[in-house]
């Protein structure tokens, strides 16, 4: 029965995503190719002094991205530090310095890593004016970067890649805000709470007094999932019944997570004038997703110790109302996008199951990835793939009529190296610096040994890839983790963006070369297979040694 229900749930989600692919993808293409502004947009452009008809070079576009993000980091930091004197703070004190920095970096980078229990730490002003605003802005930044790269492929001999302020504004006003608004209402109908009640004293069925937190949850959860943010209103995230009460809200939240990332390839196909290219990219994403989901579900049902086998599945850390299938589908969706929300505790997964969630992030979150970041990550891998294919058969590499020369391949290669470097260096430093090592072992690691390494590796992998999920056994609210993970999140977000925009500028400046008999077709099954192979091999080669020391060793123990 569980299996039947699980398969039906997966099929339902898949059918909805297939139905959304064309309309949502085409709608996004229209948003970013339209030459007309809405009245409210014109007012906003006047307010910030932007000419919506002007275009930016990649450098100017990057400067705008960084300005928005720097302002965001300092604003969210300040809000948290002043929480005690802000209205609607529920009597909570100011957030400490390290945690404020970590949280500011986390929400501005779309990571939404939370080293705190939100329902007993953050008042409503910080939640709404700080964190929820960044949920919209950080998601819109990701979409804008992806669209800029797509313009790089689509344009000929152009010195510009669009206008960041226009892309940002349209992403928020025409896409994220309307869908989030409707989704919040659907979630309220499903039982997600939405109030400003603070804490309510109740008496439980056993007669014990309890204090239940309330709050504007549905409005936050809608954008948390839609923008692949993942930061919960409650500590238990989407395992909490106030955030995700029923199996159907669970499926709805999964659809919200995947809708934009899986539809963006259609937008890409539309904008480059060849829908088959978008179909090839989405085929790669869907194939990798299916394999990952299958592996995780098998690991959670068939592996583990004697207790797991006697119970029929690894149910520790999972909600009865979602079961194995509802948990593995959510976990796969969350770690293959940059969401990081959880409806089950990844730290309680079987060792190999936990490894799958980690491997999903290590892939660079490209299948389908975060809103925008998934598409640009996959397009970078496509550039690497045509280069490798060119080397194999002696063809000059080109993708969508753009020559992949030395500059392009250098930019793409460095992009690929950045995230693993941050994740592995952060993990290594946590153990290599004597003072830090002592603190990590004494304070942070709950399960020493192989699993302890996995906990730290997971944290830095999550931060560097801007995912935000965690192995909850790690106590990360310490000066070292708050600082190191905060820096990892900033570098993991903005260093790759530098190279994506530089690549967009480089491609946009080129003319298109006509396809010849020597051109590798990039819309066929052969390229789909090649791109999947390159993605997995690049990740496996990079991370295999550390996976062997952590989850693999634990799983085979």
């Amino acid at each position: 029965m569980d299996v039947l229900f699980g398969i039906l749930q997966i099929l339902t989600v898949a059918v909805i995503l297939v139905l959304l692919y064309r309309p949502v993808g085409d709608y996004m293409a229209r948003i970013f190719t339209s030459s007309t502004d809405l009245k409210v947009e014109r007012g906003f452009y006047r307010l910030i002094g932007v000419d919506s008809q002007s275009e930016q070079t990649w450098r100017s576009y990057l400067r705008s991205v960084l300005v928005v993000s720097i302002v965001g980091v300092f604003f969210v930091y300040l809000l948290q530090r002043l929480q005690a004197v802000l209205p609607y703070s529920l009597g909570f004190p100011a957030i400490p310095e390290g945690l404020s920095f970590n949280t500011a970096a986390s929400f501005v980078t779309n990571t939404n890593w939370q080293s705190y229990s939100p329902d007993v730490t953050m008042g409503y002003t910080v939640q709404l004016a700080g964190l929820a605003v960044q949920n919209f802005v950080s998601a819109a930044v990701g979409i804008a970067i992806a669209i800029a790269l797509v313009r790089g492929f689509a344009r000929r001999k152009s010195g510009t890649i669009g206008n960041f302020w226009v892309d940002l504004t349209r992403s928020i006003l025409r896409l994220l805000l309307p869908i989030a608004f409707v989704s919040a209402i659907v979630l309220i109908i499903g039982g997600v709470i939405q109030n400003f009640n603070g804490f309510s004293a109740i008496t439980g069925v056993n007669g014990a007094a309890q204090s239940l937190p309330g709050g504007p949850t549905a409005s936050q959860i809608a954008i948390k999932m839609l923008g692949t943010n993942g930061g919960g209103f409650f500590n238990a995230n989407s395992a909490h019944p106030f955030e995700n009460p029923t199996p159907w809200t669970n499926a709805f939240e999964i659809v919200l997570m995947l809708a934009i990332p899986f539809s963006l390839p259609r937008t890409f196909g539309q904008m480059v004038g060849d829908k088959r290219q978008g179909n090839a990219i989405v085929a790669v994403m869907a194939s990798m997703f299916a394999v990952s989901l299958t592996a995780l579900t098998l690991f959670e049902t068939l592996t583990g110790g004697a207790a797991t086998r006697l119970a029929g599945a690894a149910m520790e850390g999972k909600e009865q109302r979602f079961g194995i299938w509802g948990s593995t589908l959510f976990a796969t969706s969350s770690t293959l996008t940059s969401t990081g929300a959880v409806n089950s505790m990844h730290d309680s997964f079987t060792p190999l199951g936990g490894m799958m969630t980690m491997f999903n992030m290590m892939l660079g979150e490209i299948a389908p990835g975060g809103v925008g970041s998934g598409l640009y990550g996959m397009l970078i891998l496509a550039v690497i793939t045509v280069f490798i294919a060119g080397l194999l058969v002696g063809r000059t590499p080109e993708y969508l009529g753009k020559k992949i020369g030395p500059r392009e391949i250098k930019l793409a290669s460095i992009y690929i190296l950045i995230t693993p470097t941050i994740a592995l260096a952060g993990t290594a430093l946590s153990f290599a610096i004597p003072a830090v090592n002592a603190d990590v072992l004494k304070t942070s690691i709950f399960n020493p040994g192989l699993h302890g390494l996995s906990e730290v590796l997971y944290a830095f992998t999550s931060a560097a890839n801007n995912n935000g999920s965690a192995f909850a056994g790690l106590t990360a609210n310490t000066p070292w983790f708050n600082t190191a993970l905060g820096v990892a999140m900033l570098f993991g977000r903005f260093l790759p963006i530098v190279f994506v925009l530089a690549l967009a500028g480089s491609l946009a400046a080129q003319d298109k070369v006509p396809a010849t008999s020597g051109t590798l077709p990039t819309h066929r099954l052969q390229f789909v297979g090649l791109l999947i192979g390159v993605s997995i091999i690049v990740t496996a080669l990079t991370y295999f040694p550390v996976l062997a020391l952590g989850p693999l060793a634990e799983g085979l123990h």
Partner: protein, 62 residues
């Protein structure tokens, strides 16, 4: 909002009660007991964005 406040038990575990009087709360301390100041994290953020800016400048040389 009806003015409901967090339960004292949960709240007092994380932060000492006397912190409530201060708009910025208790001074965080690292493992050696040295207080960490706001300026430290402001400088960390500035340094991180400076590195990103430096890399962006260097990309032109590729």
């Amino acid at each position: 909002m009806d003015g409901g406040t967090p339960p004292e038990g949960i709240y007092s575990i994380a932060v000492p009660q006397w912190c409530r009087a201060s708009p910025v709360g208790a001074r965080e301390r690292n493992s050696n007991g040295v207080p960490v100041l706001d300026i430290v994290y402001v400088l960390v953020a500035v340094a991180a964005f400076a590195v990103i800016g430096f890399v962006a400048w260097g990309v032109e040389k590729l």
